[in-house]
Symmetry: C2
Subunit: 460 residues, 2 copies
Amino acid sequence: MKPTPSKTHHHFPLPSSSFPTGFVLGGLHVGVKKKAGVPDLAVILSTSEHPTSAAACFTRNAFKAAPVLVSDHVIKMNGGYARAVVVNSGCANAVTGKQGLDDAWAMVMATDALLPSKSSEFEQETLVMSTGVIGQNLPISKIVAGIQSQATNEATCVLGSDFSAWERAAQAFMTTDTFPKLRARTFSIGGVEYRLAGMDKGAGMIHPNMGPAGTTFSSGPKQLHATLLGCIMTDAAVSPRSLQSALTYAVDRSFNSISVDGDMSTNDSIYVLANGAASNGVIIDEETDKEAYEVFKRELTDFAADLAKLVVRDGEGATKFVTVTVKNAPSYKDAHNIASRISTSALVKTALYGEDANWGRILAATGSVPLQPSSSGAEPPVIDPTKVNVTFIPSDGTSPLPVLVNGEPEKVDEVRAKEILSLEDFEVTVDLGMEGEGEAQYWTCDFSYEYVRINGDYRS
Amino acid sequence: MKPTPSKTHHHFPLPSSSFPTGFVLGGLHVGVKKKAGVPDLAVILSTSEHPTSAAACFTRNAFKAAPVLVSDHVIKMNGGYARAVVVNSGCANAVTGKQGLDDAWAMVMATDALLPSKSSEFEQETLVMSTGVIGQNLPISKIVAGIQSQATNEATCVLGSDFSAWERAAQAFMTTDTFPKLRARTFSIGGVEYRLAGMDKGAGMIHPNMGPAGTTFSSGPKQLHATLLGCIMTDAAVSPRSLQSALTYAVDRSFNSISVDGDMSTNDSIYVLANGAASNGVIIDEETDKEAYEVFKRELTDFAADLAKLVVRDGEGATKFVTVTVKNAPSYKDAHNIASRISTSALVKTALYGEDANWGRILAATGSVPLQPSSSGAEPPVIDPTKVNVTFIPSDGTSPLPVLVNGEPEKVDEVRAKEILSLEDFEVTVDLGMEGEGEAQYWTCDFSYEYVRINGDYRS
């Protein structure tokens, strides 16, 4: 049995100027988790004088947790504005019935009270997230007391805007994560410099499929636990509709393109707040300035992918980080479906763990995915096996290794194959050679003994 | 790490009268497998004077192996008649290009020559199956010589119709299987007694999705390996169209309702031959005698389910045999999709291995399945979490254990839960409480360290 490598994908300390302006945040221990001092509550506030737009993508699972339903409601009621996010780890507030909804609302109200000035326009301005064990009620009085202790006039307030404030907030997201997941980047549009920063968490029950806000509220009050949470902040100003459309696009190509174990959770949520603190009055909007919008969308997508990949790197029991690229499929959707199937195949993932360039399992997974019927209702296209290529691409810049060329298996140099497969990072490319140029990437990890140990022993 | 239990689901020696009349068959060693004496070739011939109808279900994988394409062609050309089946294990004849097709045809022709009298009506009368390693050509001259050695006038002929002949044939199907899988049963329609008998094989790459014959031939010539093979014989007479419709129905509720690892193979094939040797001239047909047809369909379905369950019992690394039942879904298809998702969830399967009654993972898997849109194009129905029940049912006849009742988690008696989960066999029932009464069963096993060892080390 191979040891699981130690995981050290650290964000290095960053200057405060790396982070978007107009946010204060922090992480603290309020007692949801037993171990003293471990952060289990994050509070994130926008202090910008500009309107703070907010967008979200939530799990498509039929059993949605209370914080999902409550946050979706807030965004919908406000027409895409919110100024705060509150997050607890250690308890998912899931399958907790009416009490769970009341508790989620209590977190929202308490956090609303921390905002610099109450808005007359909105009833609530806070989004909420929870992650951890299920079927238990939140220790809500401890949580509310912890939130209240963060009023800026209190000596107990830990909120700040430097690196350590951001890092402590990221730590408060963690459950089975082995490291906090925090990233920041700078970009500019029309000569104005903006910043993006954010954190996420997740290690198991990771196969998100999230749709835009405003689509969840028809669900009932009983819910379950979940494991992908992410929150992204920017000091750009973005109209609510464009923030939502950019996030939906970005999530499809980032968080909805990762898999640890193929299991979709019930609390998966990604939020983005855009507070306009650096905007100089320019509001990014798809209809008024398509070009600026496209730049923002690309930056957000790349950033979301960076955060999403951290979750795969920290996948339960993972020893490999593998990029799966599917090319020349009839459509993006087909490419994405195939990349997803390869990325969740137990046979592919155990072969990756075994460092075995097993193209047969990759091809079997590829062929098991039904292609989408064309919009005209015609029969779906058919893969021509004689046009399919499978290649392993090492991450160290050395030569790729074709293992299947136009449907013909190559005489594979086993020594070279072992060299590539023994890397921690590599890519598998499946080129279907079909018309349509659909291309998608997925990020996955291997299936190890350690995964079985963690999930065979762990009682959620 | 728990030891894998020894697997002893033996068919006991059965009298020859248990088996359908009018078939001779046997298994022999021809040298596809290295180890001397291990059966690697099965030959099955109908010697009935009546027409022998044949039906098949083949993998829906886009990469279909040569024996799949050839057998589909034979059935199609003959309008649903075939008198022989030839099977080799040890080499899947997959991703072998034109040579692979030539080899599959050579097996067909050699077996045709064993049939008592050449038919003037059909060019070929044999179906073929292969299973084993991929990307290698068959040792075709050894195989053809082995087939030829079975001519009834040869001293080397091992074909017979007693228990040991059936058992040797079943042994010749095996690859990573730990025991041969052979079953027989008797049934009667209108006072006439018929027999069903058959064998199958499979242990990994098991998540079949097979469709009826006549739908595969558009695929190209390059293929892959596969792992579920089954062959069922009866001495009833059944019209080709009714034999195919009964088999399609049966396969959906048996072989298409099992999962070992969620990976669909490229050679999956189930054949049925009905030789009419016990028929007294009565031909079962859906249109001429619906009632008789329904009895036959039910018998075939139950029998196919018995064979399918043997594959799950022999699942790679499996320590549990778990029946997943989904009830009161909007449709059979919805129930089947949900049962499939639960049965393939890595989190559910590792919890089963850990003997953990983790209803949270079961519910998350349930909720991750999109329900089918109604035929009228209306929005798909939505699960009401307050109507969902999850129950563990022990196989020993003792009381079921409800863990979720109307969406409320029960205070579970952990000692009792452990008692049930520590059984080798038990059932998980998810009752969605929706209108429509869709119900489906799936059979699955757990995910163990041993599964990772087998598939992390094994090079196919």
